[in-house]
Symmetry: C2
Subunit: 295 residues, 2 copies
């Protein structure tokens, strides 16, 4: 299979859903404009692609769950807008473009994030957007996403990340931050497939393991790219973690050991789906891509 | 019936759910502390009480839906924390106490709001918290709450409110703001009862009308109290709307006409539930209370 084509195809389906869902500009128009600005600022749609690929790995047709997979990008985008705020990471650039508050001001940026998060749950609560998913499974997928994003998930990770700036790195805190800030939503993205399809416990367990491992690997690679990448490719200044005294894998283990950890996590992810049919090939390819990516 | 007792009883049920749900302090503890600080800063729990009373009006036992009704207070509290931020309304006091960002800083205040919103949807997606509600009805109630809170609801109202500061008031914009910023979540609170109970279309329509009318009346009375109330009772300095050049009913219609409008809205609300059994008495009493309240 051609992963580049696969991702492009899925990304177009997701973007097309966004265009239809946010088609009619509401009032006040600047709110929706701010939401769409960040949504179309160059995100790779990796979380929706993971949900679609895992649904396919379970035997489903990805086209049936595009609206629900898309919600993962809404939640990811909301988290970036809020993380970039002056009171948080105070970033002026994201993917090479000015961040939301630099263009729309802090108030609209905060509200655009709030609306993205809320619309994600609105979409996840609408069975009519697919017609192919059982209501009980939709409710369960929504719950998985909410758990991954909330008080014991992404928000806790971001809070701990901010509180840990300038602190001496230790393994427990580092893993806490990375698991919650990044891995939990990636794992929930992977879990959306089997949950919406109604798969059995063995499939759920295997994909949970896959999701947890690629999720953590994703953040470790991010940490490495912040040191070894180049500004143009990663869309923000290299070395920003170090300047902000962020707790990262390289800051604790050095760069070589961090690369080794990422490699082992991806190997573990691949191993947990080794018994899956060729329908899981996209998941396998994505795992390898996450390790080798340059941006 | 004794409305004061009724509200006290329901408030205790809601608070008791919060204590059990947020019982074990997670990590980082300051995040949960900030959430609980705002949650227990003196809110009257009027939205949960409305949901419980409307469930009762439909023939249900309010005790069965306390967790779901409580989510309305989580969403209301998140909106207050974000609205009070320096980049929004920049309020130092709320209900006579320092606002979240004055105590925890802006970053934790924003994240506490994000977590409150997300946990609301997590609770609304968990049928095991009641065991008495059909999953399809829970999904539908969640959707109603999300629509009321998101891009075409509360967030739009707050965005338009901020964008309209210092603008010449006009009826269309004023109603847009009040309907979305306040009335939509109050209407959704009332709708939660019949939706979770599985009531028929006539009941849904009547309660939708009741909710819309008391919701708008609630905000008109708020506008009036900001002029005629006293600082101690309303918990923030009197006249803050006027100083911030907010678009309010009194600023457009004057205080007497605004009182007349509030009275008519409450009369319309009462009329829409006039055919309901005595089970709807709490809804009737609440409507009257909203008109006469001093805080």
């Amino acid at each position: 299979m051609n992963l580049k084509e696969y991702i492009k195809d899925k990304r177009e389906a997701v973007d097309s859903f966004f265009h239809s869902y946010f088609g009619k500009p509401g009032k006040p128009s600047v709110l929706q404009e701010a939401m769409l600005y960040s949504l179309f600022a160059g995100g790779k749609r990796i979380r929706p692609v993971l949900a679609l690929a895992s649904y396919e790995a379970c035997g489903g047709n990805p086209a049936d769950i595009v609206p629900y997979a898309s919600t993962l990008e809404l939640i990811h985008t909301y988290s970036l807008i809020h993380d970039d705020l002056p009171s948080m990471d105070n970033d002026d650039l994201r993917r090479g473009k000015p961040t939301s508050h630099k263009i729309y001001g802090e108030a609209i940026a905060i509200l655009a994030g709030d609306a993205l998060l809320t619309e994600a749950f609105r979409i996840l609560s609408d069975p009519s957007l697919s017609g192919r998913v059982q209501e009980a499974n939709l409710l369960r997928a929504l719950r998985e996403v909410a758990v991954a994003s909330g008080l014991n998930g992404m928000v806790a990770g971001q809070a701990q990340d901010i509180l840990s700036e300038n602190a001496e790195p230790d393994h427990e805190t580092l893993e806490f931050i990375h698991m919650r800030k990044t891995a939990s939503l990636i794992r929930a993205s992977v879990m959306m497939g089997p949950i919406l399809f109604g798969s059995g416990m063995d499939v759920l367990d295997a994909l949970s393991e896959y999701g947890r491992n690629i999720g953590l690997a994703f953040q470790v690679v991010d940490d490495i790219l912040d040191i070894e990448g180049n500004t143009e490719e990663i869309g923000k200044p290299v070395g920003s973690d170090e300047r902000a005294n962020k707790m990262t894998y390289p800051s604790l283990y050095g760069i070589e050991k961090s690369k080794q950890i990422a490699k082992e996590l991806i190997a573990a992810a691949l191993s947990s789906v080794s018994s899956f049919s060729p329908g899981a090939d996209p998941l396998r390819e994505i795992a390898n891509y996450l390790l080798s990516r340059r941006s």
